[in-house]
C-alpha cells in the first residue's frame, strides 16, 4: 500500500507525525497522527511534596504553563480540604482570564488568521502573519504585539514569572495585588476588550462577508458529529476557571454534567501501540473506534466544544457574539471544526470582559488572599479549561502531603481521537482516485488539525503562521515516488 508521510519540519516533527495510507486505487485507506514523545510526569512526581505540583507541572507545557499551574493549585485545595478566600479565587480567575486572552490572540493571529485573511489558496509566501499585516495594515501588528506584551507583563506582575509562574498554593496564592497594580490591570483590560471587539469585526469583514469562506467553514470536509465537553458555571455559562463539566451529544442533548472529581466515572483512556499519547473517550457511551455519532464515545474539548456544551456566555458582549454565531451557523450544536476559530474569538471577548469585571471587583485588592490548611491531606482533583481542552489533575498523598499517586488528563489529549479523524477526513476529501495530490492537500490537512490548536503541535504557535510540511509519496517498498513540499524552499 502506498503511504504519504507528512513529516512537518516543525514541532510536529519532534512531537507529532502524520501517515496517510493509500489503497492501490489511490484512495485514502487510513490516516494516523502519531505523538512520538513522552516524559512521564505522572510517575516521577510520586515522592515529591504535593505543594511542588504547580511548579513541576508547569513544565509539561511552556505554552500554557498557567493552565497546569492553576489545575494543580486547585487540586491542592481539594487535597488539603481548604477553601480559598474570595479574593484568592478572584485573583486566580483574573490571572487566568489574562492568560486566556493572550493565548487565544497568539493562536488566532499567528496561526489561524492567515488561512482566512489571506485565503487558503493565496500564494504561500503571503499566507502568514506578515501577509496579514500587508493586507490589513501595520496598525494590526501593533495591536497584536501590544495585546501579547500586556498579557505577559501582567502574568509576570501577578504570578511572578512570564513563563512558569510560581504563585499558587493550597488555600490561595502567595501574593495579592495593590491598588496601583489593580488600576493598571483594569486599564490594560479595557484595551483588551477593544482588541477583542476589533478581532471579531475583522473576522466578520473578512470571513463572514465572503461566501467562499463561509462555504469552507460550513462544508463537509471539516464536519464531525461528536460529543462536546466544557466547563460551565451555575447558569450553564462557559467558565474557564471553575464549575461543572458538561458533555452534550452531537444532537445537542446533555449527556452528563458532573463534578471534576468524578471524572473517572465519565471518561477512560485507551492506548494504541502507535502513539505515546493516550485516547480518552466517554466511558458510558463506550469506545467504538475512530468514528462519529451518538453511539461513539469520541468527544472534543475545544473552544467550540465549550460553547456547544454551554447555554451561553456570562458577559454581555460575548453573549451577543455567541448568539450571532449560532444564528449564522444554523443553531446548536455546531459540528463544523473550522467554526472553532470563531468560537475562540467569542471566548477571547469573554476573557477580556471577565478580566475587567474582576479587575474592578472591590474584593480584588483584599488582603485575605490565603488561608492555611489545617486538615490532613488525602486526595484531590483540580480541573480548569485549558485553552486546548478540559485539564484534570488528580493527586493522592500520605498524611504528610507526599505524593503517592498522580493522574493527569491534559487538554490536547482529549482531542487525540478527533484530531486523527479530522486529518483522515480532510485527506479523504482531497486525495481521490485520478486526482493529483497537490499543495492544496497540505494546507487542507494542516487546517484540519490547526483548528484544535494542538499542544503537541505547538508548531501551531508559529510566527509565519505556516508550518513547513513535506509529503513523501512512497511505494510499497518505501521508495520515494514523489515529494511535495510547502514552505520548504
Amino acid at each position: 500500500m502506498k503511504r504519504i508521510s507528512i513529516d512537518p519540519i516543525t514541532r510536529l516533527e519532534g512531537h507529532g507525525k502524520i501517515d496517510i495510507f493509500l489503497t492501490p486505487e489511490g484512495e485514502v485507506a487510513n490516516a494516523y497522527v502519531q505523538v512520538p514523545e513522552l516524559r512521564g510526569f505522572e510517575t516521577f512526581c510520586v515522592g515529591r511534596p504535593a505543594e511542588d505540583m504547580p511548579n513541576l507541572t508547569n513544565r509539561i507545557c511552556g505554552v500554557c504553563p498557567e493552565a497546569h499551574h492553576m489545575a494543580a493549585t486547585k487540586a491542592l485545595d481539594a487535597l488539603f480540604h481548604v477553601d480559598p478566600p474570595p479574593t484568592a479565587k478572584k485573583l486566580r480567575e483574573l490571572f487566568y482570564s489574562i492568560f486566556y486572552a493572550t493565548d487565544h490572540t497568539t493562536h488566532f493571529y499567528a496561526l489561524a488568521g492567515p488561512d482566512f485573511v489571506m485565503g487558503p489558496d493565496a500564494p504561500k509566501e503571503v499566507r502568514n502573519i506578515l501577509g496579514i499585516v500587508g493586507k490589513v495594515g501595520m496598525e494590526i501588528a501593533g495591536k497584536v504585539l501590544k495585546m501579547r506584551r500586556d498579557g505577559h507583563y501582567l502574568i509576570k506582575m501577578i504570578g511572578g514569572r512570564p513563563v512558569h509562574p510560581n504563585w499558587g498554593l493550597p488555600g490561595g496564592v502567595s501574593r495579592g495585588i495593590n491598588e496601583e497594580q489593580r488600576a493598571e490591570i483594569e486599564k490594560l483590560g479595557r484595551d483588551a476588550v477593544e482588541f477583542a471587539k476589533f478581532s471579531l469585526k475583522l473576522f466578520e469583514d473578512i470571513v463572514l462577508k465572503n461566501p467562499d469562506y463561509v462555504k469552507i467553514v460550513t462544508g463537509d470536509i471539516y464536519l464531525h458529529k461528536t460529543y462536546n465537553m466544557g466547563t460551565v458555571d451555575a447558569n450553564n455559562h462557559v467558565n474557564f476557571y471553575d464549575g461543572k463539566i458538561r458533555v452534550v451529544g452531537p444532537d445537542g442533548r446533555e449527556h452528563a454534567k458532573y463534578d471534576a472529581k468524578d471524572y473517572r466515572e465519565y471518561i477512560a483512556e485507551r492506548t494504541e501501540p502507535w502513539s505515546y499519547l493516550k485516547f480518552p473517550y466517554l466511558k458510558k457511551i463506550g469506545w467504538k473506534g475512530f468514528v462519529d455519532g451518538v453511539d461513539s464515545g469520541v468527544y472534543k474539548a475545544t473552544p467550540l466544544s465549550r460553547l456547544n456544551a454551554a447555554d451561553g456566555m456570562a458577559t454581555p458582549l460575548a453573549q451577543t457574539e455567541y448568539e450571532r454565531m449560532y444564528d449564522t451557523l444554523g443553531g446548536k450544536p455546531v459540528n463544523h471544526t473550522l467554526a472553532t476559530h470563531w468560537a475562540r474569538l467569542v471566548e477571547l471577548l469573554y476573557a477580556t470582559e471577565r478580566w475587567v469585571e474582576l479587575a474592578t471587583d472591590p474584593e480584588i485588592t483584599g488582603k485575605e488572599f490565603r488561608v492555611l490548611p489545617t486538615e490532613t491531606p488525602t486526595e484531590g482533583v483540580g480541573s480548569v479549561e485549558a485553552p486546548r481542552g478540559t485539564l484534570t489533575h488528580h493527586f493522592w498523598t500520605d498524611e504528610r502531603g507526599i505524593l503517592t499517586k498522580v493522574n493527569l488528563v491534559v487538554g490536547t489529549t482529549n482531542n487525540n481521537a478527533p484530531i486523527n479523524m479530522s486529518v483522515k477526513r480532510a485527506a479523504q476529501s482531497l486525495i481521490q482516485k485520478g486526482k493529483p495530490v497537490n499543495e492544496g492537500l497540505l494546507n487542507m490537512v494542516e487546517m484540519a488539525f490547526r483548528a484544535y490548536d494542538p499542544c503537541f503541535g505547538c508548531a501551531t504557535h508559529t510566527l509565519p503562521g505556516r508550518m513547513p510540511l513535506e509529503v513523501t509519496l512512497r511505494g510499497p517498498d518505501g521508495e520515494v515516488i514523489d515529494r511535495l513540499a510547502q514552505n520548504m524552499d
Binding site: I9, Q34, E42, T43, R59, V63, G160
Partner: protein
C-alpha cells in the same frame, strides 16, 4: 547567498517555554534576523532536517539547542546538530541540567510505561497494550522513536560549547548571550554564560542572621513580606542558585526553586544546596539536626535536585549501566 551567519534553534525533551522566552525578546528578534539567517527553527519558522543533513560539517555558525535527550530521535538530532554547528549552546535548564523531566531518572522506562499505560486510574487497557517502536497496522507499519531508560543532558550526549541556564532563561539574559556571541566577548568554551553572583544578591528581601530551628513547607506558613524567606524557615534555593532572573519568585512571596542552576564554580547544585542548608541549622546535636531536616525537608532529591538530577553526580537512581544506553538503545540510534 547572504554573508550573514547561519543560526539553528532546536527543541528536544522540553516544554516549549524556551521558545516562548526567545519570542519574548520582542522586536530584538529582528536584530537577530539581521545578524543571522535563521535556517532551522521548527517551532517558529521554515527549515528541514534534510537540508541540515546535507550541510557541510560546521556549516552552521550557531545552534541554540533546548531540551534534554529522552529518546532516539532527540539523540539523532543532537548528534547531527553538533556535527554541523561551529558553536553549540545548551539553551535552558533541560539541555543544561535535565530540568524537571530529569526527575524521571528516579524511575525506569518500564516503571513509567507501567503507570502511564496500565496502572493509571483512568486507563482502559485490559490487554496491556504499550507503545511500540514498530507497529503493524492493516495498511502498513508505523514507527515511534525509542524511549530511553535515562534522560540525558545535551552535555552528556555531545560536546557542548556554552550553557545558558534558566527555566526558561529570562528574555533579557537571552539577549545578553546573543550579544556576547555576536561581539565575540565569550568566556572559555565549556562555560556557563551567566552572572557570577547568586539569586540572593539580587533579592530585595532583608537578610539578617540565618539560624533555623525548624523548616516549614510553603503551605504551612504565610511568610513576612520583607524578610529573607530562608531566615523564616522556608527552603529557598536563592543561596545556591545563579543570578540572572532578578529574584522574581521571592518577590511574589515564593521561594526560589533553583531553575537557574548552581552558582558560578559549582557543578553539583544539590551538594551545594545541602551544604548551605546544613550551615544555617542552629544546632550542634546530630540527632536534632537529623530531625529538623527530616521533618522540614521530606523529599531531599526533589528539593535539592529539582532541576539538576540528570546533570548531578547522582545522575539517576541506582541501576545497571548507570544511565548508559543499553545495547538496544544504541542500535536504535545508529539504525536511524
Amino acid at each position: 547567498m547572504s554573508d550573514k551567519g547561519k543560526l539553528a534553534l532546536y527543541w528536544a525533551a522540553s516544554c516549549g517555554g524556551c521558545e516562548i522566552a526567545v519570542l519574548a525578546i520582542n522586536e530584538k528578534i529582528l536584530d537577530v534576523a539581521n545578524a543571522f539567517d535563521i535556517v532551522f527553527w521548527p517551532c517558529v519558522m521554515d527549515g528541514k532536517v534534510r537540508d541540515i543533513e546535507k550541510m557541510p560539517d560546521k556549516g552552521l555558525d550557531l545552534c541554540l539547542f533546548n531540551g534534554g535527550i529522552r529518546n532516539s530521535e532527540q539523540e539523532y538530532m543532537a548528534r547531527l546538530l553538533r556535527k554541523k554547528a561551529k558553536v553549540l549552546v545548551a539553551f535552558g535548564s533541560c539541555a543544561h541540567e535535565g530540568c524537571i523531566p530529569g526527575l524521571a531518572n528516579m524511575n525506569s522506562r518500564d516503571e513509567i510505561f507501567q503507570f502511564v499505560y496500565k496502572d493509571c486510574p483512568s486507563a482502559d487497557n485490559p490487554k496491556g497494550v504499550l507503545p511500540e517502536v514498530e507497529t503493524k497496522v492493516s495498511e502498513g507499519t508505523l514507527h515511534l522513536p525509542f524511549f530511553y531508560d535515562t534522560l540525558k543532558t545535551l552535555g552528556q550526549t555531545v560536546d557542548v560549547d556554552y550553557y545558558l541556564p534558566g527555566c526558561p532563561p529570562e528574555p533579557e539574559r537571552i539577549w545578553d548571550a546573543i550579544t556576547a556571541i555576536l561581539t565575540g566577548k565569550l568566556p572559555p568554551p565549556g562555560s556557563v554564560i551567566g552572572a557570577e553572583t547568586t539569586v540572593c544578591d539580587e533579592c530585595p528581601r532583608k537578610r539578617e542572621e540565618k539560624k533555623i530551628k525548624e523548616f516549614k513547607r510553603t503551605w504551612q506558613v504565610i511568610p513576612d513580606t520583607e524578610k529573607c524567606l530562608l531566615e523564616q524557615g522556608i527552603v529557598c534555593c536563592g543561596i545556591a542558585t545563579r543570578a540572572g532572573c532578578g529574584a522574581l519568585c521571592p518577590q511574589v512571596g515564593s521561594p526560589c526553586i533553583g531553575c537557574y542552576g548552581p552558582n558560578a564554580g559549582v557543578e553539583d547544585f544539590g551538594a551545594r544546596m545541602m551544604t548551605a542548608i546544613a550551615s544555617v541549622i542552629d544546632s550542634n546535636d546530630p540527632e536534632e539536626i537529623d530531625r529538623i531536616i527530616q521533618e522540614g525537608i521530606p523529599d531531599p532529591v526533589g528539593t535539592f535536585y529539582r532541576f539538576s538530577l540528570a546533570h548531578s553526580s547522582l545522575r539517576r537512581s541506582n541501576r545497571a549501566g548507570n544511565g548508559k544506553p543499553a545495547a538496544k538503545e544504541e542500535a536504535e540510534v545508529s539504525g536511524r
